[in-house]
């Protein structure tokens, strides 16, 4: 049953992305892990609507036995594009940080900013 498998894998992916976000020090890899979390949520939504013997949600196919649920796909479609735009904005912020602190290591940035506050 593809739906339940998809949901399980998406939770596993979410966990991997969360671990990558917390444990890796490099800012760019943290952003990649955040993108992985986005993709996991999208996979979960799409597989919630999937059916084992379904058909794509296009009415022209003659064997339109039972189409898969089209609502999650509609929700997710514009979310993917917006994820891309927000990711570009996040990369811009990383550029600003690197210009200020000359490193992409999150620990050193935290230490440097804490030292600046003193």
């Amino acid at each position: 049953m593809v739906g339940l498998n998809g949901v399980t894998i998406s939770v596993v992916l979410f966990g991997i992305g969360l671990l990558g976000l917390v444990l890796r020090r490099d800012l760019v890899v943290k952003l990649l892990a955040l993108g992985l979390v986005n993709s996991a949520v999208i996979l979960c939504l799409v597989s919630l609507g999937a059916r084992p013997d379904g058909a794509p949600p296009i009415l022209a196919t003659p064997a339109a036995s039972a189409i898969v649920d089209p609502l999650p796909q509609a929700i997710v479609l514009s979310a993917i594009v917006i994820n891309f735009a927000i990711l570009a904005l996040a990369l811009v912020f990383v550029m600003l940080l690197v210009e200020r602190y000359h490193t992409t290591d999150s620990h050193r940035i935290e230490r440097a900013s804490a030292a600046e506050e003193d």
Binding site: V2, G17, L36, I80
Partner: protein, 262 residues
């Protein structure tokens, strides 16, 4: 159906491998492959709209934008001998005063830094043969040979003669000890007679270890740490000198020194 299951099972493996990579470029390419795999999974789950959008965005645009952001057009090779405080490894990161100065230089010229750690003799050899661009790691102004370009010292220091417990303090002055700091520590631990002349950084590191009493004596003369460059990289030498001057002017050099040598 089984193809779908196989692809679904491949997804976490690809993502995990991609996020575990050391170099950022490899992680980005791994995540691009993951996006393509995800688009195929969407296609097999009868969601063609989502598949087209995910393939166009995740595999193409996002990967391209990341690569554009981190892409530099060349490399700077650095040969260094590990000196705690100046340039050293901490896990998988490299830290140190000289490392930070080198990072500024790399950001200034827009190149990637690649560091090779070696013993001081090998560093000297590599510079003399022009194999690397910069030599770093606690090189003293008086010790680097001829035919190399030196920067002005960025950290004044002094040399200390260290003697192990069995040798006589104030004995004959030893030749400068060339070798890894670990060898000196080993020798003092074993109680072998050793006379070495260490510069300040290595001496500070030595004093953090719990060793038997050893005699120290300050050797005359002022020293300073420098970077060495082969004579073919005059342009790099000038940029580095400019950066050092600017750092000293704004006082940033002092704060960096204080951060690494409290």
């Amino acid at each position: 159906m089984t193809a779908q299951l196989v692809l679904l099972a491949l997804l976490p493996i690809t993502a995990g491998l991609a996020l575990l990579q050391r170099r950022r470029l490899h992680a980005i390419i791994g995540m691009g492959a993951f996006s393509l795999l995800l688009a195929t999974v969407f296609l097999l789950a009868n969601a063609p709209d989502v598949a087209i959008t995910e393939a166009a965005i995740g595999a193409a645009l996002v990967t391209l934008i990341y690569v554009l952001a981190i892409r530099k057009t060349g490399r700077l090779t650095v040969a260094a001998s590990e000196t705690p405080g100046l340039i050293g490894r901490e896990g998988e990161q490299i830290v140190g005063l000289e490392w930070e100065i080198l990072e500024r230089l790399a950001a200034d010229v827009g190149l990637d830094l690649v560091v090779q750690f070696a013993s001081p003799e090998e560093v000297e050899e590599a510079i003399r043969r022009g194999e690397v661009d910069i030599g770093a790691g606690g090189i003293l102004a008086s010790e680097c040979g001829e035919n190399v370009l030196r920067t002005s010292g960025h950290l004044p220091t002094a040399r200390f003669a260290v003697a192990g417990p069995r040798s006589e303090p104030g004995g004959k002055p030893a030749a400068p000890f060339r070798g890894e700091l670990a060898d000196v520590i080993d020798a003092v631990r074993r109680g072998a007679p050793v006379s070495a002349t260490l510069d300040l950084a290595r001496f500070l590191a030595l004093s953090r270890y719990d060793l038997d009493a050893y005699a120290i004596e300050r050797v005359e003369g002022d020293e300073a740490y420098v970077f060495v460059l082969p004579p073919s990289r005059r342009d790099l030498h000038q940029r580095l000198a400019e950066i050092l001057a600017r750092l000293a002017e704004t006082g940033e050099l002092d704060s960096m020194i204080r951060r690494h040598f409290p």
